[in-house]
Amino acid sequence: MSTESREITPITSASTTTTTTHTFSPETQELKQQRRHRSSSIISHVEEETFEEKIDQEATPNLNSEWVHSKGAWVIHIVIVIFLKVFYNLVPGVTNEWSWSLTNATYVIGSYIMFHYVKGIPWEFNSGAYDNLTMWEQLDSGDFYTPSKKFLVGVPIWLFLCTTHYSHYDLQSFVINLIICAVGVVPKLPIFDRLRITFF
């Protein structure tokens, strides 16, 4: 139980009539947490967890991110890429160049949604202790340069090199694929850890 978060937090009231008492708030978390959402800046940083949140995070293994470490989870990335390539090859009218670019785009956007867009845990076991964190930030309890993270950074780079090579270095597809690769790699860099970019 953190003692710091138990400070009395008077709710800022616009109406002066309700100034009597907001003194009952022994368990109330800082309303700072609520006010945090009001920040109008586009780029914001996820604040450090409170002591209680850390305890809840470490009380049980995080089933949402543990599976990423297993060998099958690594192999499945390659399998998915091959599957996507075969799928796009089978679509009539798609040239080999486009088929590679589409594979690259599908994989990167898919993994972006999975690792960097969706927050929290799909089921409930620790009272929402991970609700503010993306899956990438949940991985290895937020440590950097772990084997799984290295692998997950490596896959989009490898895919980009493959794509540009097999699409015969057409300038247009090169630029598109480079941007897609950046989408896959840049959010995984430590300096972008816990950074939120919100436009609306």
Binding site: T20, F24, Q29, E124, G128, F144, Y145, T164
Partner: protein, 563 residues
């Protein structure tokens, strides 16, 4: 010499470039030949050759990417610095362990608190009858200290049923409800409770104190909002702590304050929320265990519908004692039970069994069968206990008149109001004590009058914000002994002892003071049950009045020593 000089002057800048480039390319070709000797080297060369395509800029970009990847792969793992742990060396750990002197698990009873142990009355027979006998002195007592409001604990029908079920089903359920713990009798009771209240679903729990603590966290998590009454009992306080939700308290039973808070949250907080809509609860008690008053439910229902909240009511004490047929606080105000979203009740008070239950609509109760910790992991009730509860429900409903009033409850209510009229309208007594409970409450709460409390130098509150206990909890001081609280409780016990010596047993509120986070004050409690006659109640009132007057008149702050 001359020749060379002219040569050097004739060389132009682009030529210099071409010559150096030529030399480099020779070395480069040698390097490529070298690489081709390495196994697999030929493939790399072929790849680079076909990659280049006369566009050095692109090759350069790819090279940078490859270098970045290699750098990333070779960087050592490092922990994010957000853990907030101090890493201690083995030596430091050893030192700390050696230095540590454990506090005793249980502190020895001090001379100042010995009276607490001495004050516990030991009765002859088990049970919570309206008439008791003390073990040592064989003195007869009128029991006004149990929450056995309907006086059915030694009822012939209930005991006979309990005996029959013990012979049939044994004494234990041997497992949680989902793991062979539920027998037909449990399902029967759940259905009986559903029928009794006219709700869709009911879930039984093994312990009433743990019911709220399991129900609330199964619906709430971080980011959800709870607006709770500032007079709720410790069970709900702990439930809210466990739920991790944002809790805001409104002044005890002050629904205008609640409305202000709701409006403020609508304007200041929810508007700026992003992501999924949070769950919003209003949490209160049907009959407050700490003060004995009742919230005005119609207004609460109105507020919760208007501001889109869910209403949670803990009816531990009110079910089986309030309302014309014991349906609790909603029946008292003539509101259908289904209007309240979650009701938690106890089988251990009026229903004379043990355990608790939660009633509401089907979806809400069904969620608890897999989502509520106490239901999933705690043992089910013994079969005979559930049968007792079923029988009591049957007894309450079996003697109803055409207006829907249960005879046993109307008799209880007439006694409560008779006693309440006596004690609340007594002028001399009101100068000494304040009755904090509602006229309908079966537990009459008597609090020392505020003028007397100030005269005796007692603080406005022992717990909660700004109190001494709050300060000690914050600083982690394990000694929770407070002189004033000990004095006040001792004074109340002194009154109880005086009343007891004249044949009437009343009680006082007890707290786990270190755990209370809201403001509480010790009260004298008179629990009226149906087994006591009106004459006995009048007599009890006279005894209490005279003893309170003797104890409190002329008492000064120094007088606590002599109690």
């Amino acid at each position: 010499m001359d020749h060379i000089q002219t040569m050097s002057t004739n060389i132009t800048l682009p030529e210099a470039f071409t010559t150096t480039a030529h030399h480099i390319s020779i070395y480069f070709q040698k390097l490529i030949q070298l690489i081709e000797f390495i196994p697999g080297g030929a493939i790399i060369i072929r790849y680079i050759k076909s990659s280049h395509k006369n566009d050095p800029f692109r090759t350069f970009l790819e090279l940078i990417l490859v270098i970045f990847a290699i750098r990333y792969f070779t960087t050592k793992r490092y922990e994010s610095k957000k853990r907030g742990f101090v890493k201690l060396s083995e030596k430091e750990v050893k030192e700390l362990v050696d230095e540590w002197e454990p506090e005793p698990l249980v502190l020895p009873v001090t001379a100042k608190e010995q009276w607490r142990l001495d004050a516990i009355p030991i009765v002859e027979k088990p049970g919570y009858d309206s008439k008791l006998k003390l073990q040592e002195t064989s003195q007869s007592l009128v029991n006004l200290a149990s929450v056995n409001f309907l006086n059915l604990s030694n009822d012939e029908q209930t005991t006979a049923e309990a005996k029959r079920i013990i012979r049939q089903n044994g004494v234990g359920a041997c497992g949680p409800p989902n793991f062979y713990g539920n027998q037909d009798i449990h399902i029967d009771l759940e259905q009986n409770i559903c029928k009794f209240f006219g709700v869709e679903g009911c879930v039984l729990y093994g312990q009433d104190f743990a019911t709220t603590q399991s129900v609330l966290p199964s619906f709430l998590k971080r980011g959800d909002y709870v607006i709770a009454d500032a007079g709720i009992n410790i069970s709900i306080q702990k439930a809210l702590l466990l739920s991790r939700a944002n809790v805001t308290y409104y002044n005890h039973n002050d629904l205008n304050h609640l409305e202000d808070i709701l409006k403020e949250f609508d304007e200041e907080v929810y508007k700026y929320e992003k992501g999924p809509i949070p769950r919003k609860f209003i949490v209160t008690e049907g009959l407050f265990a700490n003060t004995g008053d009742i919230p005005y439910l119609p207004k609460l229902i109105e507020l919760k519908t208007k501001h889109k909240y869910r209403l949670f009511v803990d009816e531990t004490l009110s079910i089986g004692s309030l309302g014309k047929s014991g349906r609790g606080v909603s029946e008292l105000f003539g509101i259908p039970v289904t209007q309240v979203d979650i009701i938690v009740g106890s089988l251990a008070t009026s229903l004379n069994a043990a355990g608790g239950f939660c009633i509401g609509d089907h979806v809400m109760t069904y969620h608890q069968r897999i989502g509520s910790l106490a239901y999933c992991f705690s043992a089910s009730l013994p079969a005979y206990v559930t049968k007792v509860a079923s029988t009591v429900l049957h007894i309450i409903d079996s003697n109803k008149n055409e207006k829907g009033e249960s005879q046993i409850l109307s008799s209880l209510h007439s006694k409560i109001s008779a006693f309440y009229n006596l004690i609340s309208k007594d002028q001399p007594l009101s100068k000494l004590i304040t009755v904090t409970s509602s006229p309908e409450s079966p537990i009459v709460h008597l609090q020392l009058n505020s003028t007397i409390r100030t005269a005796l130098g007692l603080p406005a509150s022992y717990t909660g914000i700004g109190s001494e206990i709050g300060r000690r909890n914050k600083l982690g001081i394990s000694d929770k002994f407070i002189e004033e609280l000990n004095n006040e409780e001792k004074l109340l016990q002194y009154i109880i002892n005086l009343v007891k010596s004249r044949g009437i047993l009343i009680t006082r509120s007890t707290f786990t003071i270190s755990q209370e986070s809201l403001a509480v004050l010790p009260h004298l409690k008179i629990c009226i049950n149906d087994g006591v006659s009106k004459d006995e109640l009048t007599n009890a009132f006279n005894v209490i009045k005279s003893e309170v007057t003797t104890a409190l008149t002329g008492l000064t702050a120094d007088g606590f020593q002599n109690l």
